[in-house]
Symmetry: C2
Subunit: 177 residues, 2 copies
Amino acid sequence: MRHASLSIEHALLGFLRQEPKHGYAIHQELSDAGSIGSAWRLPLSQLYTLLGKLENAGYLTTTTEPQENKPPRKLFHLTDQGEIAFLTWVQEPVRHGRSLRLEFLVKLYFARLEGAGMATSLLAAQRKKCQQWLVKEQAILDREAASGREYGRLVHQFRFGQIQAMLSWLEQCEATP
Amino acid sequence: MRHASLSIEHALLGFLRQEPKHGYAIHQELSDAGSIGSAWRLPLSQLYTLLGKLENAGYLTTTTEPQENKPPRKLFHLTDQGEIAFLTWVQEPVRHGRSLRLEFLVKLYFARLEGAGMATSLLAAQRKKCQQWLVKEQAILDREAASGREYGRLVHQFRFGQIQAMLSWLEQCEATP
DNA sequence: GGCCGCATGTAATCTGTTACATGATTCT
DNA sequence: AGAATCATGTAACAGATTACATGCGGCC
């Protein structure tokens, strides 16, 4: 079992922090358009696949619960390993700007559920990352502008602007608790 | 042969507008870090795969050119169909915000090569798209804020900020010819 | 009778990335 | 002798999307 890089599927573990749930129920929470559903869309069939993976990885165990007049439910329970993996994932800022759009927003959702403290520290960690990116882009931008590379300048101006917008959004999030 | 949605691989056709080239030469142009290479990275092995696809689709034909002391070159020629496909692709604005980062920047590169007029009209078309997105996001944002959905508001504030940054970049591009 | 909700999945497909395979010449 | 450049590709693996498959109960 390879130690896969902590990716978005670890978010699913967060749904099981309070009590065990079955796949369909998780999907209903996930599909709430006003909540996490506004950031992350995951078809039911994909959800089942991911839950299977997490089980294979030892982050989940399952029990089956028969029901009358309805198909039996398969309850997923978070293991200790799973809890550790989730907490590690949720506290780690994302490494690339392109991951804010999906993965960071999902992290933030679960961090807020864990408590205001965790959300605050996640925001701060991500803001620092973002400031580093901005400095790097600024340096590249200056270099491109100095060497008269028109197109390279356009490209990095675009990236600079995107990162700048991320940064001011993060600061705004930190300012309004 | 399915009419695949016009995707990034159509950009490769743009390299053959002036004269036929072989894969390795295209890759060298593509790898120029100060130019298109700053927006699009494509490993050589993937490039060959994509060129094969474009040939199957009827956008390219090939001739083989033997060389002394070196492996023979396979020259790719743009067909009439290929030219049409390229010109259609390059003039079409992208449909989603997430495609600006890569596909739009590549379109812009080739539009500029085609002439200032094409670049200008592409920028204008994309700016209009972007303004539409912004209006939609604004509407959603207001709705989320009004119904007191804290997390939904955060998510859409993020998106709003990203689109806003795209828009001002596009305007800046239009202003500096 | 047909569609929606509940509840579970598998399979096919497409795309993207990385690794591997070959072979000559030129540079250090 | 070993690395880089020129030149072509195939194959394996990972991830995401879509389609397909099953079955019961309740509602219109």
